[in-house]
């Protein structure tokens, strides 16, 4: 995990340096804030990976001499077919149409969104299909 | 059992790539630069599509353009030659697997460091021209340029002259030659672009912002201008002209064209797009002096 951490942290350091230079030279609020926020966005996962990489067991994908046998076993949870992404997508669509055509679109919109959030969470807890 | 198709590589050619061509390529690269420099010194530098223009800053911008273009031709030409060379000289001649070179640190350092140096040089040249352009020399003439949907209004503060025109009325901004002219650029509504091709220059007219710059024309003449920033329906017709005249002609034009007020001029302009208040010859005055 160390390479991932280094990639994110070095990007963050670069954005930090850039925002300091830009802020002092240009005194422009919007750009300075946005660049500084970019630095924070990189430091958040980057810092976490850095902290964690020093405490975790070596993963097979970080080991240049790993064999495929070391990767045997469960990799992750991969829910199979699911109606909830479609439902949530349609809900978001109607919510956006509400912005354009009138607030009453929020009824199907938020309805579908909430239904999908509940359904999708329940499906995740159930384990879904293969 | 289904047939599996393979894409056949092109037919083999009997000859391979000789070592001689490799040496010739190296020699050619070393020789190319001084030859180009000599050739350039001997003849005039091509325009590369731009023109010197009518102001002092348009001239220096033009020379910067030429400098960048020489660099682009050299770098682009070299790179194009390398691409075409690789495409033709190393095209597949057999089924052999070539040497699997993966890196060459000195070469990679070279084509990292040299572009950095080129870029720093381009930046230095840019700063020289840019500092001249954004400098604030003492100016003797001031013109307020106001952009609106879809025309231009030129006000000469303290002189009581206003020139205004919409779209194809094509208002003319008169200014004196060999004089530092200060422009105050504003917009009444949306963003417009004040662009004069012969000045190699454009600047946005931003609502709520006063943009200021200096122009010093060195050639008399009439030059086309146009709005370049999308501003709505008649953006394409928002044209104007800049007429650079001698200083005496400018003074005469000012006295001959003192308007009563901007309001009157604007009124007449918005009434019908038939007659224009733009004076083409001096000595046409509107209202009392």
């Amino acid at each position: 995990m160390r390479t991932e951490a280094k990639v994110l942290l070095s990007l963050g350091v670069f954005f930090g340096a850039m925002s300091v230079v830009y802020w002092n030279w240009g005194h422009e609020n919007a750009g300075g804030v946005m660049m500084f926020a970019g630095m924070l966005l990189c430091f958040l996962p980057g810092g976490y990976y850095y902290w964690w990489s020093r405490r975790m067991r070596a993963r097979p994908e970080d080991d240049p001499n790993a064999t495929q046998a070391q990767g045997a076993g469960v990799v992750g949870a991969f829910p199979g077919t699911s109606i909830w992404p479609f439902t949530l997508g349609m809900g978001a669509f109607f919510v956006v149409l509400a912005l354009v055509f009138g607030i009453w679109f929020l009824v199907p919109g938020l309805g579908l969104v909430v239904w999908a959030l509940f359904g999708g969470t329940a499906e995740g807890r159930r384990g879904g299909t293969q | 059992m289904s047939k599996v198709f393979h894409v056949e590589p092109p037919a083999l050619s009997p000859q391979g790539v000789s070592d001689r061509s490799r040496r010739w390529r190296r020699v050619r690269r070393i020789v190319a630069l001084p030859v180009a420099a000599l050739a350039l010194a001997g003849c005039t530098v091509p325009t590369f599509g731009a023109a010197p223009g009518a102001t002092t800053s348009s001239r220096s911008t033009y020379h910067l353009w030429q400098g960048f273009s020489i660099g682009a031709v050299i770098v682009g030409g070299l790179t194009l030659v390398l691409i075409l060379w690789a495409v033709f000289a190393y095209r597949r001649k057999s089924d052999r697997i070539p040497k699997q070179s993966q890196y060459h640190i000195p070469l990679e350092m070279t084509y990292t460091i040299i572009p950095i140096l080129i870029v720093l040089g381009l930046f230095a040249a840019t700063m020289v021209v840019e500092n001249k352009e954004v400098a604030n020399p003492k100016t003797t003439v001031t013109i307020n340029v106001n952009a609106f949907q879809w025309g231009w209004k030129f006000t000469y503060p303290g002189q009581n002259v206003v020139v205004v025109g919409q779209t194809t009325q094509d208002p003319i901004m008169v200014m004196p030659v060999d004089t530092n002219v200060h422009i105050n650029l504003t917009s009444s509504d949306v963003i417009h672009g004040f662009y004069v091709h012969a000045f190699n220059f454009s600047r946005y007219a931003l609502p709520g912002v006063l943009n200021q710059f200096t122009l010093r024309a060195v050639n008399t003449g009439t030059y086309d201008g146009q709005c370049t920033q999308l501003c709505g329906l008649y953006h394409s017709l928002m044209v104007f002209r800049v007429k650079v005249v001698s200083q005496s002609q400018y003074t005469a034009w000012l006295t001959g064209n003192a308007n009563v007020s901007a309001a009157l001029a604007a009124q007449a302009a918005t009434k019908q797009q038939t007659s224009s208040i733009v004076p083409t010859k001096p000595a046409k005055s509107e209202g009392n002096n």
């Binding site: 991932e4 495929q68 354009v100 | 597949r92 890196y103 220059f201 044209v239």
Partner: protein, 571 residues
Amino acid sequence: MTDVLDPPVVAAHGDHDDEHEEHHGPTGILKWMTTTDHKVIGMSYTVTAVIMMVIGGALAEIIRAQLTTPNNSLVSFAQFNELFTMHGSVMIYLFVGPFAFGALANIIVPIQIGAPDMAFPRLNALSYWLYLTGSITMLSGFFVAGGAANFGWVAYAPLSNSINTPGAGADLWIGGLLLTGFSAIFTGVNLCATIFYLRAPGMTMFRMPIFTWNLLVTAILILLAFPVLTAGLIMLYCDRHFGTHIFTVPGGGVPVLWQHIFWFWGHPEVYILALPFFGMVTEIIAVFSRKPVFGYKGMVFATLSIGALSLGVWAHHMFTTGVVLLPFFSIMSLLIAVPTGIKMFNWIGTMWRGEVWFSTAMLMAVGFLITFLIGGLTGIYLASPPLDFFTHDTYFVVAHFHSIVMALVMGAMGGLYYWGPKITGYLLNETIGKIQFWFLFIGTQVFTLPMYLLGLRGMPRRIPVYPLHPSWQFLNQLSTVGAVLVGVSTVAFMVNIVYSWKKYPAGDNPWDGHTLEWFTTSPPPHHNFYRLPQIRSERPTWDYNHPGHTAAEHGHHADHHPEHHDEVPVV
């Protein structure tokens, strides 16, 4: 001994056999609506994006037809403003972007790193539905009173406020972008998580294919930039409908703030568009030169540099506003040329002393190199404020970015010809492909090169007529001819798809590819791999197939440990 192993096991509560699933799962349209398989989602993205390309292209042909004479009345002024706004919007937001990070990336990145799927398959599916509905939303602007959005694809304030652009078309444009924006953000999350967590054993970060590296940097850029656009769009919507004054002067707002927010997203966006195609071209050139990528670490460093620098150059789109720090943005923009040049020379170095063979994919890659060279060089001019002052908002800029995006389109076509067989199991016809290439390449130069001259002669952009400058007509007509040639190449592509439908079975590895995706079947099975080879370099399939050619005197990879060279690959 090269060792292969059964694929990583996916977790499920209870044990589901793959074969049972095929009988019990949904079928037909319901199967498509409920899929979370990254390959199916990626195909959906590809088909949708190509449809968007055709729509955007049709809009372009109308624009070019209008501009063939100085005072044409093929379309009205109002319609023309809608045409170029939607042409740019459809091409950038709905075609190139989603194609770059949603289509081929979705399909190829997991297989390139040995993963069974993306890290969040349902989120992946949601990304597609948001993209589809967002596209429909934006395009439905054409069918409302007042027409589609007409303020340019950049929607500068105050032109885009409710006084200057009332009407639902603009709001549909904003709404469509909110949906596609979230689609992109979720894809960015998915790509990062997949690349960080689902690589196969032995696939260290520095053994990932360059395409995957480029998608990683693209994903990080998406996460950095797209939320900024989304925020800006919400602000614009509030100004339009909730009486706020963020971008309007009466009330204390600052119009140029929109430009800062928009371009802070907008410049990383063009690298989000470009980096995936850089990756595609890298893969294609290596395979069709039968050599490894030259300067792998340099490529990774260059990609990271481009990503980092891209966040600091946005105001080079605003040089003529007069209110930005010119020297800062100038030097940062000039510096981006350096890593781009490194990539260019690495691509040439990959071909150098190789055995280069020109399938359609490789032709497209070479076309990309030449066209991108032109576009990249002209971009350097624009990084210099004095030179930008007289080229900004003229056809010079239009030509510059069209050179770039047409190069990206060539990369996209190369990617489709290269990976199409892996995804579908069938090759495309090479003769028709070469016809497509030549029309695309020549057509691109014929339509862009006159535009550079037009811009230098003073022709502004976004104008439907140029009555005062009849001398511009010839170059405009030339450009229109070029656009027609490009249209012909698109038709050739469609013809090829129909003609080659299920005609040429491809096999696992028709191109002798290097990376992990070529180790599995075409198309890959459910969860992608029956077997995985040992991974000891960035070219696991090449190492497996050509054990005697894994290292070279000139470059010995730090991660690479020479294996036994006398092994026979296991069939």
